[in-house]
Symmetry: C2
Subunit: 428 residues, 2 copies
């Protein structure tokens, strides 16, 4: 049997300890599968004395992750600290400079620095793997980079932030408003220290930008992701969308259009009976579409100790087996500069508005929509005892620009009681 | 750039031509992704003159696949002929003996000869890859062998024969009996030349046995798969199961139990609202369960030119990238001899019977069940104008042995109008 593959693991939070546990529990199984032992040389974390759910006494300790990353007895630097810059970035750079392979779960770091990190690693003949950075335990980086490598990819979609999906499904099932469920999620520890990373769509946007780079052979372009969080989704929207046969999801979509690379992470309506529509709670789902394969749907736990550590180990085992695949599926130096699409592709939209109970109110709205080239597919006005009535409209395909124009013009009609809401309906 | 990877493709049916088309259409894309050109040196098929939907004029031709497999200018023998023995097996053996890598879509050949072929290839340092043999375009072999390689796998489940799923869902949606839909499927060309490969569960059983070998590190044991086809599923069963909230699927299940490796391919009831229950038409789904990752669900097209060729290309690209993974995820020589479980794990069962309209009929049935240790979870008797009444029973967990005993004893009660039907309910 060849020499063991020696790891240095930086970060001993949930995922780090989960990884240590798998290596301890399944040493024999993994050696049988890889033909090589996986050994931990040393670990690093902020606190050495913190009580952790694993015996670390056999491993070296480094207070400084940079020191860990450059140890002579480390072949693979496993970065599980998180954070887009700071110690994670410094240690990853040091590891690459020292000629180590890198396995990381850090989507923020890769979304911001993946291009330069990958180029630096590849220049030295080393690899960065990041299965755990996207959709937790779902082996989606592998599916896209390897399983679908013979396809021109047309679209990548996904629900990739379990916390947002938990909030949206909980709002629906319990009939609770956003603020209340947000608070619940916070107390359950589901939210990042900066909750906007979750509910603002940033975390999921990071993941989408990484998949887009692989799918379309383009440089990581997180800054070009159109981000919209879930904070403005009301329980009313969830109910009304449900009445029309839809569910609301924080959905990421990346597709190459004639106008460039479109990347969106935003609340969308999807058919309630579609696989995406039926996704409950913290589960993630990624949809991959290729010219030969058609549509592949992958579903699984998007976070948590076991699933994320499982993904880390997939990368470690890949390296131990001698597979050396470019970070984004082709050499970073060959990735094309993506042209960010100026506008998103036309789609049907769901519009919700509260109209004052005056004769001709609906006609005024319909006139504005018509003048903006937006045609109505379905319309529903609810009975009301009040002086205003909720009206739902599902449009035929329209551009976001047209919708935005219409939304701007609607208040001038004087029939809106409240701000109108527009949510894209995604064809899935 | 290194030398091109040179293929010899044997079999120019749907999948073979699909593979040629991808290589022609995406030469640049694939070279960018693999860092290496994929070239076709020569092809082979039964008829050279047949009109095919691809230009083959640039490739050498061999009438004999064995000659193709051993050509000096072939690095990878791509076996797309099919058939468990015959020319496919002869050519694959010849390719291995000549020191070639092998990519195949041939589940029948691997289910019967995979163990010896893998051992022979690995002795020579060569690989056999077979992503296209299981679940068409879904990269499930990769997900299991690589993506979940850090997990002890507890269960693999799947709907892996699109034709059977088409028949079952079509029976339900059109309200047609089995024989009629079977005939439809035959006329649509959905059935193998020997339809029992499909409807008898053999084809899906082949696939299950291959996944089980990877999942549990055991030698391929197709002969130990308990096979039951869909020929006895009636439209009544589909309707009644639906009334109880279930759908009937030809479901494969492989799991390691205290009594050995259990492998079943048989009609099962699954909850109608589960991912498996909602699978319509020819789509395939595979569920993988691991100790760390939990449950991963993969869904996609299970057959067809594009999807299957996509899977073939995933293997070709994997080899071109220099990844060399053992056929079943660990060296064939190290695969354990599986002990076939003597009985399947207990499960709830669905029982349907037609009882004659006599006082005490139901009591007699219940007595037999009770004496066999089978307890009733739910029971439903339908109204009837006739001299007999349909009765549905959902049991608590029971062994298949107990169910079979009860079924044998029931006729002696004299209250059964027809043979009772028992179908396992799978927890998904």
């Amino acid at each position: 049997m060849p020499q063991p593959l020696r790891l240095g693991i930086a970060g001993l939070g949930t995922v780090g300890i989960g990884t240590v546990k798998i290596i301890q529990r399944h040493a024999g199984l993994i050696a049988a599968r890889t033909g090589r032992e996986i050994a931990i040389s040393a670990v690093s974390a902020r606190s050495r004395t913190k009580n952790r759910d694993a015996d670390l006494s056999a491993y070296g300790w480094e207070d400084d992750p940079v020191a860990l990353a450059t140890r002579k007895d480390v072949d693979v630097f496993v970065e599980l600290m998180g954070g887009s810059g700071g110690p994670a970035l410094a240690a990853t750079k040091a590891a690459i400079a020292a000629g180590k392979d890198v396995v990381t779960a850090n989507k923020a770091m890769l979304a911001h620095h993946g291009q330069s990190l990958a180029a630096a690693a590849e220049e030295k003949g080393h690899v960065i793997r990041f299965e755990a950075a996207v959709a937790g335990g779902i082996p989606v980086v592998k599916a896209l980079t390897e399983g679908l490598a013979g396809n021109a990819i047309s679209r990548v979609m996904g629900v990739m932030n379990g916390t947002c999906n938990y909030i949206l499904t909980r709002m629906e099932s319990a009939g609770l408003p956003y603020a209340e469920v947000f608070e619940e999620a916070r107390q359950l520890g589901y939210l990042e220290a900066d909750p906007n990373l979750d509910v603002g769509g940033i975390d999921a946007g990071h993941k989408l930008s990484l998949l887009a780079a692989i799918a379309f052979g383009t440089r990581v372009a997180f800054d070009a992701v159109e981000l919209e969080g879930i904070g403005r989704i009301s329980i009313d929207d969830i109910r009304r969308a449900g009445d029309m046969g839809y569910r609301i999801k924080l959905l990421g979509v990346a597709q190459m259009t004639g106008r460039g690379l479109e990347q969106r992470m935003s609340p969308c309506l999807v058919p309630a009976d579609s696989p995406l529509g039926q996704l409950q709670g913290g589960t993630n789902m990624v949809v991959l579409e290729g010219d030969s394969v058609g549509q592949i749907v992958l579903r699984g736990p998007g976070a948590g100790e076991g699933p994320t550590a499982s993904a880390v180990m997939a990368d470690v085992i890949e390296i131990a087996r001698g597979c050396r695949i470019s970070t984004f599926g082709q050499p970073a130096a060959t990735l094309a500069d993506p042209v960010a699409a100026k506008a998103t592709a036309p789609a049907p939209y769901y519009l919700r508005m509260e109209l004052s109970d005056k004769p001709g109110a609906l006609a005024k709205v319909a006139t504005v929509l018509g003048e903006e080239g937006i045609s109505i597919d379905r319309m529903r006005q609810y009975g009301h005892a009040d002086t205003s009535a909720p009206v739902l409209i599902v449009t035929h395909k329209a551009t976001r620009d047209a919708i935005d124009h219409a939304l701007k013009r609607l208040p001038a009609t004087g029939v809106l009681v409240d701000e109108a809401v527009a949510i894209r309906i995604e064809t899935v």
